[in-house]
Symmetry: C2
Subunit: 343 residues, 2 copies
């Protein structure tokens, strides 16, 4: 057992990936924590009130450690009004989208969420899309909270360690969902775990965790050989009966092969890996012109909601990693974790 596992009283070196957008509920995350792995709540698209409710529920469902993941707001460029109008015309139901949040509002939301995490003494907190401000880091550390950063290149890992992160999740090009990059990295330069883990492990002294394309014990053992002290697993948890992903989404996950995914910015404005569907095909030529995050995300929200209601996988975001071809059907958290940790 390694130091980071002791710190969080874990018996399994596995983090359930914090998948935002209603995919993770306290039921799923608590099932993970109750097996001795690290369950994760995803605050990214939750209101702070909803986050607080989830934390309270979570603490009733498990005595184990869990983390809350928080998105770090980014500085915005001035949006191009003409391009916004173009996308408003192009995206179905965009007229029903809520107003864009300002950068100031995002920071306010960020700080509210941090206060809730502090108030409820959450054991671990992870960050995506950047490095939190120093006062946040100090406040959480003072509270005994374990800090987890997300890196996609060795340079990001070095920066996260310098700023005080206790653990670094290394997200390989194989990973489903949003890329957590905060330094510019193009899709075709995205590092596969086979290259990323040893290079990042050599560059930092804190424990590194491998994320991306890991679906069974083979990936866990390989990550260990490469220098990771644990793994973060996402897509395989989506197929668990404890996961609230829709049947439409689960059906696509079951059907898809590893080569059916690609990176796209068409849903949110930030590159994320998902199963190629109608929306991605229709707008492929406009990929490079997507609005910056979170504007594109705000405008596609009603389209995605409508698609979910109509069970139309063509216009939902079907986030999935390259291990999607290894999923055989419904699993449950206990058996998935047992497979991952089988020696």
């Amino acid at each position: 057992m390694t130091e980071w596992m002791k710190l969080l009283s874990l018996t399994k070196p596995v983090i359930q990936a914090p998948m935002a957008g209603g995919l993770v509920t306290p039921v799923l995350a608590a099932a993970v924590s109750n097996e001795g792995a690290l369950g994760s709540l995803a605050s990214g698209y939750l209101s702070s009130d909803m986050l607080e409710k989830q934390i309270v529920d979570m603490q009733q469902l498990t005595d184990g450690a869990f983390q809350v993941n928080v998105f770090v707001p980014e500085s915005r460029k001035e949006p191009d009004e003409g391009n916004i109008q173009t996308w408003k015309n192009r995206i179905p139901f965009a007229e029903q989208a809520p107003p864009f949040s300002s950068e100031e509002e995002e920071w306010e939301d960020f700080h509210k969420k941090i206060s809730i995490i502090l108030k409820h003494n959450v054991r671990a907190c992870s960050f995506t899309f950047g490095i939190p401000p120093d006062e946040t880091i100090q406040a959480l550390k003072k509270n005994g909270c374990c800090l987890i950063g997300t890196a996609t290149v060795p340079q990001e890992a070095i920066m996260l360690e310098e700023r005080g992160m206790d653990i670094i999740v290394l997200q390989g090009s194989e990973a489903g969902g949003h890329r957590g990059s905060f330094l510019p990295v193009s899709g075709e330069a995205a590092l596969g775990l086979m290259s990323l883990i040893p290079q990042a492990a050599d560059a930092v002294s804190v424990p590194v965790i491998a994320a991306g394309g890991i679906a069974d014990r083979r990936g866990v053992q390989a990550a260990h050989c490469l220098g990771a002290q644990g793994v973060q697993v996402g897509t395989p948890f989506l197929m668990c009966e404890q996961c609230e992903a829709s049947e439409t989404y689960k059906g696509e996950l079951k059907r898809a092969r590893g080569t059916d995914t690609r990176l796209t910015s068409l849903f949110s404005g930030k590159p994320a890996r998902g199963i190629v569907n109608q929306w991605m095909k229709e707008q492929q030529a406009e990929e490079a012109n997507a609005l910056p995050y979170p504007l594109q995300n705000t405008l596609t929200k009603p389209m995605r909601k409508q698609a979910a209601r109509e069970k139309d996988s063509g216009y939902m975001s079907l986030w999935a990693g390259q291990s999607v071809g290894m999923l055989n059907g419904t699993a449950d958290v206990k058996s998935l974790l047992a497979e991952l940790c089988r020696t």
Copy 2:
């Protein structure tokens, strides 16, 4: 020791990647074979006379097994004359390029090379960019030649096994140089080894070999955990004193980090991973309009030659995998293989 190693009398489960374009000489490949790994000659850009000379030299330098890699010609689409003219105007020194070879000429060259491989009883033959014709496969098998195919997705691996390949090299998105795909796979759908190896290993029963981003023992051991019976290593051999890569190229390899590479079709018309340089930056917007292989390759040949003469890395093809950030400086074949196989 596994069956494929016994078949080729190897003591190390490592294949030196057949890197075309003058990078591999009999001196390098024989040094590999003499250490009990599989040395490889790359016939892709050699005349059949030159290939024969290299095989004869090789057989004088080693008693160990080696392979010859052969490119499988592809059926061409009718080229767009307007686009050819555009690139002739755009590519420096394109007016000095030799005439385009026809598909017929490429097949003639392919068959000549196979005859030479048969004549000299080469122990193994690998193929890139496709599946060779059945009569070629049968002739080589009759001669006791071990056949190695190259796959980038599980479906290609299945097809290669069905057509009689004895071993399949799985090329992950991390790999440097040309992608060996023969089914359509976009760059952002390219599978990392963490996902590719288990999915392909489950899909075929012949041994699979992992290629891409492997630079030290950690990668070799990880590949093994994922289900590979060996590894194919390219970029690290370029830094060996036995490698004929120019000092300019070696300097760029030493300097580059893993994130400095990307896939580009701007040199040859086929996606290949290399260190981003001036030519790739200048023409980035035209990436999607590159001429089909081998036309783009033919037109950039004088530019690359001139750049090599002038030691100008901006216009050379600087093929490199994502492990390039792990290279520390000049190595030699013996110490590199010892590191890869260290337990």
